[in-house]
């Protein structure tokens, strides 16, 4: 028979963006250890609805670790204690009977709380948007292998492209820096031949947007890498720094825009 556990949850409740929030404590009983963290929250919400209370609002969509919606900080760690795991893929067997679990929204000035655990992560979208286009042939579909790309480059770009834009890196950073996210996007586009053409312009634009959205700077402590559910490495931040420095030098002599 599957084991179950009783838990105490300390959850951040906040009615709207402008209201003051506070922690509420709830008891949840008979949580199956095979259920996911979000399913456990679903049980809590059902309970609350039954009692005529407001359910806990949280973001979720795919529930299979690919959309990046399920933003929540579990016991002080974005997406919880399991390495390279989103909250939706986190199973309750990693917790134990009688445990108290604290659940908080992402904490960052650019990510204001909309309700309970839901935050506004649109600044990340605006960073991507400012990256702009890539120059490619429009019209008839290009042959898949028309542009030769080495295995090493393809692998590297693929590692960078694994970023699901969840914002855990920002949430984990004491400076609320979006360098890991921006680094992943820049490394992805800048390392492929299709994206190389606009490399400098893209890097400058994305960093300007990143700063403009109010994210902090990187202090190279590495908490983002530890929290990232897709194991994006600090190498991507070094890549961003390198491409940014090069772009600035080029831009100094001849505007790259």
């Amino acid at each position: 028979m599957e084991k179950t556990m009783d838990l105490t949850l300390k959850v951040w409740r906040q009615k709207s963006a402008n209201s003051m929030g506070a922690f509420e404590t709830y008891a949840v009983k008979d949580v199956s250890e095979g259920s996911s963290f979000l399913e456990m929250l679903d049980t809590l919400s059902e309970d609350l609805v039954e009692k005529g209370k407001e359910p806990v609002a949280f973001d979720h969509d795919c529930r299979e670790g690919i959309c990046g919606s399920c933003s929540m900080t579990i016991n002080g760690i974005p997406h919880g204690p399991e390495k390279a795991t989103t909250a939706c893929q986190l199973h309750m067997r990693h917790f134990h009977d009688g445990q108290t679990i604290t659940i908080e929204p992402w904490r960052a000035k650019p990510f204001p709380v909309i309700k309970d655990l839901v935050v506004d992560r649109s600044p990340l979208d605006r960073i991507i948007q400012s990256g702009g286009f890539i120059t490619s042939r429009a019209g008839s579909a290009v042959d898949a292998n028309a542009i030769p790309i080495s295995k090493a480059t393809a692998d590297y770009a693929m590692d960078a492209a694994a970023c699901i834009g969840c914002g855990a890196c920002v949430a984990a950073c004491p400076n609320a820096s979006a360098m890991l996210f921006t680094g992943a996007k820049v490394s992805h586009m800048n390392s492929l031949p299709q994206g190389k053409v606009e490399k400098d312009r893209r890097t400058l634009a994305m960093v300007t947007t990143m700063d403009g959205e109010g994210f902090g700077g990187c202090t190279n402590i590495g908490e983002c890498e530890a929290a990232c559910p897709k194991s994006i490495s600090l190498d991507m931040i070094a890549h961003l720094n390198r491409d940014y420095a090069t772009a600035q030098v080029k831009n100094f002599f001849k505007p790259v825009a």
Partner: protein
């Protein structure tokens, strides 16, 4: 907006400035440490080294070097302060449960170690360069018994126009300075913090300049640890040696050679 302003205002640009100024300071600190360690080769050597530092270059060039170093610290400090303020603004509210997963202690305390280093640098310049710390005005009568000593090179007193060249008695100044327990304690603590600052900073500057990857991060972290400890031990050994009595004031007041010569002459007679 001008290109340069844009660079300097960006978070990455300021971090790059911090890394470049950090590199200058890292190299300076190693040179400074190696220079200081010459005190173990005897009073003549350290006093001769100090004389060379002051007379190798014309006074204007010496001042240029000093201003560049002060400017380097100013830029480092400015970037540190403005970035810290921006970072605080970006994260007004923390977590109820604040966990650290992999960040090292030294990486999280760069501002603390930096600020104490700043206080130390100010004290250090007032103490040994300008020599105006109250009670430690080494040029004043009676504080340093032999303020000026003959310059000695390769075991011979250096003469110019038939006169001995006199030079400031750095050996005795250092010994006298470190005989005060709290001065020694402050120097040892400050170099300990410098060690901490460097165990993160040395490797971090490569990251800020984009010159690091996963493999080199591991290697550079190890080099940084070694560099930090070498710098700590190399600096701290001097106050420790003075406190334990291993390093002493030059008992001859820089006149060791004349005395041995005199003894030799007497011996001959």
């Amino acid at each position: 907006m001008c290109t340069l302003c844009n660079f300097v205002q960006s978070t990455i640009g300021r971090k790059i400035l911090m890394a470049l100024t950090g590199l200058v300071l890292v190299l300076f600190v190693m040179g400074h440490m190696l220079g200081n360690l010459q005190i173990f080769l005897g009073p003549d050597v350290i006093n001769g080294y100090a004389y060379k530092l002051h007379h190798l270059l014309p006074a204007s060039a010496l001042w240029a070097v000093r201003l560049v170093l002060l400017g380097t610290i100013a830029v480092h400090l400015w970037a540190a302060v403005t970035l810290t303020l921006d970072n605080r603004k970006a994260r007004p509210q923390g977590y109820l449960e604040d966990k650290v997963v992999q960040a090292s202690y030294s990486s999280r305390t760069m501002r603390m170690s930096g600020i104490i280093l700043l206080a130390f640098i100010i004290f250090h310049i007032a103490h040994f360069t300008v020599r105006i710390v109250p009670g430690k005005q080494y040029e004043e009568f009676g504080v340093l018994e032999n303020t000026m000593v003959p310059l000695v090179k390769d075991g011979e007193v250096v003469m110019k126009n038939g006169h001995e060249i006199m030079t400031f008695n750095v050996n005795d100044m250092m010994v006298l300075g470190f005989e005060v327990w709290w001065v020694s304690a402050f120097y040892i603590i400050a170099t300990g913090l410098l060690c901490m600052h460097l165990t993160h900073g040395f490797s971090s500057m490569f990251q800020s300049l984009g010159l690091r990857n996963g493999l080199w991060r591991k290697r550079l972290d190890r080099v940084a640890l070694a560099y930090g400890w070498i710098v700590f031990l190399g600096f701290a050994i001097i106050p420790i040696s003075v406190m334990t009595g291993f390093l002493e004031k030059d008992p001859t007041g820089g006149l060791a050679l004349q005395i041995t010569e005199t003894v030799a002459i007497i011996g001959v007679i």
